[in-house]
Symmetry: C2
Subunit: 561 residues, 2 copies
Amino acid sequence: MRKTFIVVAVVFAMLCPESGGAQEIVEQWERFELSLDGPRTGNPFREVQLSAEFVKGNRKVPADGFYDGNGVYKVRFMPDEPGQWSYRTISKEKALNGKKGNFACVPASGDNHGPVQVADTFHFKYADGKRFYPFGTTLYAWTHQDEGLEKITLQSLANAPFNKVRMCVFPKYYAHAHISNEPGRYPYVLKEKKENADGKVTFSWDFEQFEPGFFQHLEKRIDDLKALGIEADIIIFHPYDKGHWGFDSLGKENDLHYIKYLVARLAAFRNVWWSLANEFDYVKTKPREDWDDYTKAVVKADPYGHLCSIHNGSFYYDNWKPEYTHASIQNGSVVEDFGRAVLLRDVYFRPVVYDEVCYEGDLPQRWGNLSGEEMVKAFWHGTIAGTYVTHGETYSNPGDTIFWAKGGRLIGSSPPRIRFLRDLLEQGPGPLELADPWKDHRVARFNPKRREAVNQSAVRPAGVQGQAAEGVTSGGGSYFLLYFAEQMQTEWAFDLPKKNGPLPGQKFKVEIIDTWNMTITPVPGVFEADVADGYRVFDTKRQKIKLPYRPWLALRITETE
Amino acid sequence: MRKTFIVVAVVFAMLCPESGGAQEIVEQWERFELSLDGPRTGNPFREVQLSAEFVKGNRKVPADGFYDGNGVYKVRFMPDEPGQWSYRTISKEKALNGKKGNFACVPASGDNHGPVQVADTFHFKYADGKRFYPFGTTLYAWTHQDEGLEKITLQSLANAPFNKVRMCVFPKYYAHAHISNEPGRYPYVLKEKKENADGKVTFSWDFEQFEPGFFQHLEKRIDDLKALGIEADIIIFHPYDKGHWGFDSLGKENDLHYIKYLVARLAAFRNVWWSLANEFDYVKTKPREDWDDYTKAVVKADPYGHLCSIHNGSFYYDNWKPEYTHASIQNGSVVEDFGRAVLLRDVYFRPVVYDEVCYEGDLPQRWGNLSGEEMVKAFWHGTIAGTYVTHGETYSNPGDTIFWAKGGRLIGSSPPRIRFLRDLLEQGPGPLELADPWKDHRVARFNPKRREAVNQSAVRPAGVQGQAAEGVTSGGGSYFLLYFAEQMQTEWAFDLPKKNGPLPGQKFKVEIIDTWNMTITPVPGVFEADVADGYRVFDTKRQKIKLPYRPWLALRITETE
């Protein structure tokens, strides 16, 4: 019955895509778009204000509009609730003011689970409650390439394990020829381009006029990612300009106009995350205190509360500030060994995504030459500690595109192993935490009780909301994941922490996981938790299991009926 | 000339200790105290307000007074500048209002270096610029013991390497008989004490009336520590009451009165640090949001800006808040292995004192049974990472006092090794930092240039002041300390990081330090830094040195002329 309704609604929407310039039927968390004709004279980007109010019952949601060029103005909106919505535009321009209409929002269908949100203090879920475990990759300048390369990148992503992409709005200019390139589109109107006798190019821009085509292309690519089930972690500012275009040196007023324009265009895309900057502290043109203003401008303009973070170079920003939904951290050392990744999570008390931990590749720079094994180990260390890790690949590809910068084809050995880990996590009962965080750095568990502990007002920092228990995909039960990293041993005695550990009499099956060869081997027999002996829990018969003498093993320990 | 003047001044001060109830000469950073007679009726603690304003030239410093019992009111003041100071009291009570006077402040002498302050973002110095490297110990309830035991504790401290003591204002009640005991003095007026048939004692207090004798005794002990050159890290609240006295359950209004009274009494003691709580999150009687109010009350009442922190149990407080001068952290795991201690320092961007890292002892609890080797290792890991570590001893002493709780005699093996490390640090050119913090976790160096880097406004968080270059005790020069912990090796090739490493042509001598056996063995010959090879710097002749195949070694690498 409900399904039929959706099919009819979608067909109807396809048949009648515009009615007075807008759809009549919109799926929940999809994009409503109203187009209006307005003034073309003067500078519409600066001189014309447009917004709209979207109403459903008692709810009123404001949304900013924007000028899309050629006399066309748009307001976009992402309805988060099925039902009848109405809207009314607000502008000082008569042609844009007081336009009314309404549309039916129909429930989400298929792979549409809504935008990703924070869940259970340290984790994520989609708006519909489905768990989201970020397994990101890095593609800083992939949308500034030619159509052919961008298509190849999308094909690579379709076959890759990644569900999040870090990507810059502005093009990237870097010391190495194989990293920088001149894009086909620019975000601002080009006034003049000069080349001196040495071949050095200088640009002159009108920073008060955007090039809508640049943003339309970006949006197309964000939609392409959405179709692949991939979140777009949009990097608003970055330091890789080096005086070439000057997009890192717009001045504060132009910066704030850019934020307003960008958020008005992109906030209605459900797969958008805001990353205020990549390596904010390397953007030498902006003083540290201005980042607060930029962050607040983004959050204020976004009616939907998309995920929001700021990524660091050598010095962290104040990730505890309430505007940041999670900490986006560059620091390779935190996931290089046991016992580190959890430390930043304890401090920030929100999800931690280690968004830069060095890259798998063969660059001479040490940040770009991890082995596949090191990259996979980084993911496991992060996962075991209840945090998340982002991939990047810096092999010199044929054609020298380098995946991490321009996209193209993935040639590293880590992606299949990252897929294997992602599958393990998604098949598990829920997000992991270290069972005994400051004492045993190898044993993670799913622990539904953890939420209760961190929800006590005695421990929760101001601004961190208590999380309801909603959105747990499975009933739980005891579930442990134990990681050995490069440490090799011939046997393992059933030996788990007492803290958040198994209760006496609980029975378990054990599987040996080879995280590199991607095998899961069941161990015969059943293990039974004894009464705790000091701080540890052993099997009642003190059973041991044999392990292959190899690195990169893990154990999955699951309660049996 | 100056020395003579000071001697005369001190003798004069001794001969004329009171003149109109106050001293006429006070040494800089010593304590001026004005005593006044006032009303004894009603509840002077609550009903009588007294403060004074201290003036020198254009400076005006307010200081709160307090009721000290028996009709005596006091105002204390710590002058921080030599010269002539005057004062005037302010009160609604006629007997206490408008009392004027003045005194001469003479320069600090002898071991008086003033209060300890933050220096160079991550470190400490005394007000006179002398470096202070905290090497603390823990004596939670030492001032609640009998006179004999307290004297033994002071004797132990006189012979110990510690220059900071963590100590509670309120007595400590704990599950184990050997840890708790009934003190001889209480902070509040006892109304009734009942013992039921099972021997359980219940107290009834007047929480609106303090017992001045309790605080006078505490002050005597703080002065005893001052005479030994030891800072008193005063723990204002703690969770070790368990319903026995109820001092953790005064209610917010009484808590704030207690803070005001305590700070009025103690702020003029130059060796006082404020520790808002021990294990704040285990104080289940106070909601998390109230700690902000308590902290602000302390800082507001303290005219001198004493060091201020809050110590955690399982969850950290918001150590980045501007009231906290440094982070006081409980977490043993951070100093158990390489690469961890620096992580919290990066985040908090202020000095980090790992004030609880488990204790050397033989308790069955895992927090109380580190070996001496583990305790010393914790100090070295903290030091190498540019942070500081606090000792505690939990051996079951004869008489069962346990140093960490009641004081008494130290019997552990770590104190002499901590002394050895403290001497090394104090003999060095200045505070240490990891040279290449996220890549090489073994090599620390003194780096005067570091200050410049962290003073850039692009990286410095709001509220963190840029530090002037003052207070560096020595001219610097290249100085490295390399720690091996338990890792044994037979040789070491001269091999240092390029980042913050030696420059080509710099010459070094190397000494092998046995951190456990406390020996320093010079290595013959001179090493010369070559041009960096990738990220490392080697000796020009690729010299190696032989190492004894033992754990707990370190190397001191010092530039030669």
